[in-house]
């Protein structure tokens, strides 16, 4: 086949950190979350009383703590990328493990929150506010799990020495995804837990 090759290979040049394909994915995810957020906001505008009342039943503390956990975890990921750029592969994988632990803390707190609501008998059909609260946070929750899986793969590969200062696209790819999960939560927390 190479015998009839007539054109040179072209590389993607976007300058984006990590693999270009993950960014397509990230933009698509942002779009979905954006639509979901706006659906929440505009539905709320028609049921202000209901939303304000039931927003009070949310555990704002656990929401705030989870925000701190996620941004801290995101910071660890930044340090992991930093480390691999200095060719410190072992250090990189250590930072990633810390970041994954952060994700784990988020998951535990979130599960406690869900189970508390479950114990109160709250379901998707209870009312529109809870429908949005559960849908949005659960959808985000799944992204945290997904991000943890991605970071775990990257951490193992970093530990094995698959990345270097020259070639660490994989680390940046995983990092970009994790920051997206963080970025979305940064909007979600005030929107659902605080604004009224």
């Amino acid at each position: 086949m190479e015998a009839v090759a007539t054109h040179p290979a072209v590389q993607e040049k976007s300058g984006l950190p990590g693999d270009f394909a993950i960014w397509i994915f990230i933009y698509a995810e942002l779009l979905v979350f954006g639509v979901f957020f706006l659906a929440y906001a505009f539905t709320r505008a028609r049921h202000v009383e209901l939303f304000n009342t039931f927003q009070q039943t949310l555990n704002r503390e656990s929401g705030a703590i989870n925000t701190l956990v996620l941004i801290t975890s995101s910071y660890f990921v930044v340090m992991a990328v930093n480390a691999i750029r200095r060719n410190a592969a072992k250090r990189c994988s250590q930072w990633l493990v810390l970041a994954i632990l952060g994700g784990g803390v988020f998951v535990v707190i979130k599960l406690a929150e869900f189970s508390a609501k479950h114990a109160e008998g709250v379901t998707l059909s209870t009312n529109t506010f809870y429908m949005f609260y559960l849908s949005l946070t659960f959808f985000h929750f799944m992204h945290v799990l997904m991000g943890m899986v991605i970071l775990s793969v990257v951490a193992v590969k970093a530990h094995r020495g698959d990345y270097s200062a020259e070639e660490h696209t994989g680390v940046e790819t995983g990092a970009s995804y994790w920051h997206m999960v963080d970025l979305v939560w940064i909007v979600l927390f005030p929107l659902v837990y605080v604004l009224h």
């Binding site: 086949m1 190479e2 015998a3 009839v4 090759a5 007539t6 054109h7 040179p8 290979a9 072209v10 693999d19 394909a21 993950i22 397509i24 994915f25 698509a28 779009l31 979905v32 639509v35 979901f36 659906a39 998707l124 059909s125 429908m131 949005f132 849908s135």
Partner: protein, 466 residues
């Protein structure tokens, strides 16, 4: 053709095309019955023609998918098919079972068919698209299992490529989700759930994996772009298809007795379903623009690009048109659904099967590509079928919009048949476009028999290593 066992794909492709012709014949019959109610009555009532039209579509697409898999899997796995004999045996079982089922629809009343096939032992008949007698369904499962075993063993023993694994996942999902067709709950809401878990999870879920894998394979072959680049895109596309497609099932759950949150989940996620199709379009054109070789099979490239565009339009845009709950409230079950169904099935699944056939058939006949004259005829058939399908879709959309306007979105709704009379002109136009489609299809069949001067040696001595 690199492995002799790939040859088993050929009868599958031929059967697929043959049944495709049958499907279109019945499409034309029904199209006429829309405006000439007792055409062919009582020999072929409308409901029977419709059943034959849709069932033939499904069966020939399955033939196409299986043929494509038999061609593609050995080449990707870099070894012979596990058992070519099994593939041949299953072909005849599937063809005979399919033919008998269609004959059953045509020759005996449906209720009698149910009796004859002992439907009462395990009742599964009577649901739209899943009308097959229970024994046919069992036959489909047996064929699917044998087929999966065959290609699964080939893949496991050989080189594991992303294309192969995605294809296998899609085919496995196809078989697994079909099992829901054996369960028919008495509760109507549950019944709809299980029905959609076959119908929706096929065409908006696992079939998209098959589509993605087949398109990726053909693009790797005809563009010569690095496998890594194409596989990466394939990953992203199927991830998006699955997320949006699986949760998007909710767009079938509006107002059928299901919880209200489905209106939100269904609307938001299915509104995102065009994204992976759009990515597929960008991806296909991107790969072709970066091609590192000039493949002599121009027709296959045209089909591949056509698939990318038409699936986005048919599945993506026309699906989005009526997927949001407040819109669907007025449009469900109108001709808008039919418009979407026609262009989506043609654009996504008909065209991808024809893409693979276009690429693989010359190879199966010992050439790199069909001769230029045959390719010209094939490309004519491409344009005739594709453009006429666009018109069929537009006419049905027009009919659907008027239908909604006069019958649904109004303070003074008119009776169903009154409205049908008023939009009859669109049905006539649709039938005319259908006749053009048939012409295109006949040309397509002819293109396989067009002879021309032998191509100048492009294929000779060039190893196919992609």
């Amino acid at each position: 053709m690199k492995y002799s066992s790939q040859a088993v794909a050929k009868p599958y492709f031929i059967a697929a095309i043959g049944l495709f012709v049958g499907q279109i014949v019945f499409g034309l019959v029904m199209g006429l019955q829309y405006v000439w109610g007792d055409f062919l009555f009582p020999e072929i009532p409308f409901n029977v023609a419709r059943m034959v039209h849709t069932n033939l579509l499904i069966v020939w697409l399955l033939f196409g998918f299986m043929g494509a898999a038999y061609y593609l899997v050995p080449e990707e796995a870099e070894r012979e098919l596990h058992s070519p004999l099994l593939a041949k045996v299953l072909f005849w079982i599937f063809l005979v079972a399919g033919a008998l089922t269609i004959l059953g629809y045509l020759l005996v009343p449906y209720a009698r068919l149910a009796e004859l096939t002992m439907n009462d032992l395990l009742p599964t008949m009577g649901r739209e698209f899943l009308e097959q007698p229970t024994i046919t369904k069992i036959g489909i499962v047996i064929v699917a299992l044998g087929f999966l075993y065959n290609i699964g063993m080939t893949i496991l023993a050989g080189r594991k490529t992303v294309v192969n694994l995605v294809l296998l996942t899609g085919l496995l999902g196809l078989a697994v989700f079909f099992l829901f067709s054996f369960y028919v709950p008495d509760n109507l809401v549950l019944d709809k759930y299980f029905w959609w878990w076959v119908v929706h999870l096929w065409v908006e879920g696992v079939w998209e994996l098959i589509l993605g894998a087949l398109l990726a394979f053909v693009l790797i072959k005809i563009t010569g772009v690095d496998r890594e680049v194409i596989e990466k895109w394939l990953y992203i596309i199927i991830a998006m298809s699955l997320i949006t497609g699986l949760i998007g099932t909710g767009h079938h759950f509006y107002w059928i007795g299901t919880p209200g949150y489905w209106q939100w989940w269904g609307s938001i996620f299915s509104a995102m379903e065009p994204i992976p199709f759009f990515m597929m379009t960008v991806f296909a054109f991107n790969m072709v623009n970066r091609r590192r070789r000039e493949h002599p099979n121009k027709a296959a490239m045209l089909w591949a690009l056509g698939t990318a565009v038409m699936s986005f339009l048919g599945a993506g845009v026309w699906g989005f048109l009526h997927t949001l709950a407040p819109v669907n409230y007025y449009t469900h079950g109108t001709q808008i659904t039919a418009a979407h169904g026609h262009m989506a099935f043609y654009g996504a699944y008909v065209m991808i099967v024809l893409t693979v056939i276009s690429y693989a058939m010359p190879k199966l006949r010992g050439e790199e590509a069909a001769n230029p004259r045959a390719q010209v005829v094939e490309m004519w058939s491409f344009w005739l079928m594709t453009v006429s399908m666009v018109f069929i879709t537009l006419f049905l959309t027009g009919a659907g919009v008027l239908q909604v306007w006069m019958q649904r979105y109004t303070d003074v709704p008119q009776a169903f048949m009154v409205v049908q009379d008023k939009i009859a002109i669109f049905y006539w136009l649709r039938e005319a476009a259908g006749a053009v489609f048939m012409t295109g299809l006949i040309l397509y069949v002819i293109s396989f028999f067009v002879t021309g001067e032998k191509r100048e040696s492009v294929s000779a001595g060039v190893p196919d290593t992609a």
